[in-house]
């Protein structure tokens, strides 16, 4: 039981990932899809930060008298991943804006039906 809840952050990761994936798949609204994508990516950020944590360690800044630090590398990695995520989101939103201008809608079904008839 302790093991089960002791790893709660991984459970959060799984829940976030599943929720995000579900939104991406199930929602027809292009913006909501992007939101889902962000939730999904957020789960990965949590995952990385989780395993960067060393139990009992502090923030990885050199201080006198502290021996145990958390691993800084995953933080740096995930910072990069966040930047990638931001870029993806921005690009996705830009596409959505242009799609709305061309189609007048951001609902996937409407877009498909329009393309089907043109």
């Amino acid at each position: 039981m302790v093991d089960f809840f002791g790893l709660y952050n991984y459970w959060i990761v799984i829940v976030l990932a599943m929720a995000g994936m579900y939104i991406v798949i199930a929602r027809g609204n292009l913006i909501k899809k992007l939101v889902g994508l962000n939730v999904f990516q957020a789960s990965v950020f949590v995952l990385y930060i989780s395993f960067g944590k060393v139990s009992g360690g502090t923030a990885p800044i050199l201080l006198k008298g502290v021996v145990t630090y958390s691993n800084p590398l995953p933080h740096v990695l995930i910072l990069t991943a966040i930047v990638v995520g931001v870029a993806t989101t921005a690009l996705g939103l830009a596409l959505v804006v242009r799609i709305r201008r061309e189609y007048g809608t951001i609902e996937e079904d409407d877009i498909h039906s329009q393309d089907g008839h043109t």
């Binding site: 800044i61 910072l79 930047v83 939103l93 830009a94 804006v97 201008r101």
Partner: protein, 139 residues
């Protein structure tokens, strides 16, 4: 937003401090938490806040599209060229040690310049993104 006086005053008050904090995060990044990414975003946040309150037009007076675009390119170029300088100095790419007589100073200088490049690019990109979306006209 012209009628929200409190917002306008607070924004004006906060604006220089945010910028200052951004610069601190930028240049203290090689000793403490911080660095180009974070600083760039904070820097951009100040302008985004400003333009939300005072309008995009007035923000763009200070930072027109051309400057931002040059910032995007220039920051990246700065980063890349630091590496090239290292190459020319005979070291590996992004090995800053030979940039000064003493290896440690060289490392400092190199990381400083690289982070500066990153900061400029990130700030410019964030602002460009905001301005682009904010000024998008349906036509």
């Amino acid at each position: 937003m012209r009628e929200y006086l409190i917002l306008r005053v607070i924004t004006k008050l906060l604006f220089p401090f945010i910028l200052l904090f951004a610069l601190y995060v930028q240049f203290h990044g090689d000793f403490g938490p911080g660095g180009g990414f974070q600083a760039g975003v904070i820097f951009a946040a100040s302008f985004i806040l400003y333009s939300m309150v005072f309008g995009v037009r007035s923000a763009q007076h200070v930072l027109p599209v051309g400057i931002l675009r040059a910032g995007i390119a220039g920051g990246l170029l700065l980063y890349a060229l630091v590496g090239v300088v290292d190459l020319l100095l005979g070291a590996n790419y992004l090995d800053y040690s030979p940039m000064s007589a003493e290896a440690k100073v060289g490392q400092h200088l190199g990381i400083f310049l690289v982070e500066l490049g990153v900061g400029i690019t990130v700030a410019s990109v964030m602002m460009t993104m905001f301005f682009t979306f904010a000024t998008w006209r349906e036509d």
